[in-house]
């Protein structure tokens, strides 16, 4: 009973937050709705006995990724361009909604009529009496050690890429502006 109540509440939070992300006009509201969805998913993780992932979800997603989104939104100024008005690609909005509904119907149909296949693994079985973090660590640092190390390489590449993208080079990269022009105020010149 309690599990169902938790599930329904978290599901409502998730879907409400997701709808907020998609529908909100202001990107800041989208980011805050995303936090709601991420918390809802974290609650569901707890109810699925994945306590470590729930904590990481809140810390990494809600704490770091969304804050970075908000930081970029604030840095760039809340986007003035309302993307609801101009529609240079007629029918795209309707097409997107139709595609989304079709995708939802298809996926839910698969869930409803499909069966879950797959064998329980030999070396990663969940033990009820061992804490979640300990089990996860044991699997991560034995079976998945190589993937874990490769992940660190990925993170280094991401850091280097972000720094080189964000570095401001005065000589190159500026589109068409004259020296001394502030490129934010410059009217858009498109080829």
């Amino acid at each position: 009973m309690v599990a169902w109540i938790v599930f329904v509440l978290a599901a409502v939070i998730c879907l409400g937050g997701g709808a907020g992300v998609v529908l909100a006009k202001n990107p800041v509201h989208s980011a805050l709705s995303l936090v709601a969805t991420l918390f809802g998913v974290a609650v569901l993780f707890v109810s699925l006995d994945a306590e470590f992932l729930a904590a990481v979800q809140v810390i990494v997603y809600a704490g770091a990724i969304v804050v970075m989104f908000l930081f970029v939104i604030m840095l760039l100024g809340v986007d003035r361009t309302v993307d609801a008005e101009a529609d240079p690609l007629p029918g795209q909005r309707v097409g997107g909604i139709v595609a989304g509904v079709a995708l939802a119907a298809g996926l839910i149909g698969i869930v409803a009529y499909g069966t879950i296949t797959g064998a329980p693994s030999a070396n990663g079985a969940v033990q009820a009496d061992v804490p979640n973090i300990e089990q996860l660590a044991r699997v991560l640092f034995t079976d998945y050690l190589w993937a874990f190390e490769i992940t660190s390489v990925l993170l280094v590449i991401a850091v280097v890429g972000a720094v080189s993208l964000a570095r401001h080079r005065r000589d190159a990269l500026v589109d068409t502006d004259l020296p001394g022009d502030d490129d934010v105020l410059e009217p858009e010149v498109t080829a």
Binding site: A3, F7, C14, L15, G18, V21, V22, A24, A31, L34, T37, L38, V41, L44, L48, D49, A50, F52, L53, V56, Q57, V60, Y61, M68, V72, L76, D79, T81, D83, A86, R93, G95, A99, G100, V101, L103, A104, L107, I108, V111, P120, S121, G124, A125, V126, Q135, L136, D143, Y144, T151, L154, L155, A158, G161, A162, L165, A166, L173, E186, E188
Partner: protein, 105 residues
């Protein structure tokens, strides 16, 4: 109070499917690159939810490990993606998908 069995994998997977479709529809409909990114995060979270559900269902911690790696990759992806958006914003006025159509060459 009635003793009702806790929700099985079905409701979790259905919720995950709905979230994924919501994110996909948002990605197709919205034009703001930042909001499109958030929709991608929504889809990643939906997949994470089904990973954890199936990890419990199949009694296999590999699903939770997969979520761990998805989290790391999502963080890296957001860092690089937002870096690109900031770099574009520095050169151009807007960062909606329409403004970026000049990239088609």
């Amino acid at each position: 109070m009635l003793a009702i069995a806790p929700p099985g994998p079905g409701p979790y997977l259905a919720l995950s499917a709905a979230l994924f479709a919501l994110g996909a529809a948002g990605l197709l409909v919205r034009r703001n690159a930042l909001v499109m990114f958030m929709c991608v995060e929504l889809m990643l979270n939906a997949v994470n939810l089904s990973f954890v559900t199936l990890a419990r269902e199949l009694d296999d911690l590999g699903g939770q490990i997969a979520v761990f790696f998805v989290l790391v990759v999502a963080a890296a992806e957001v860092v690089v993606g937002l870096g690109i958006i900031v770099a574009i914003f520095r050169r151009r006025q807007g960062a909606t998908a329409d403004d970026l159509s000049v990239l088609k060459g």
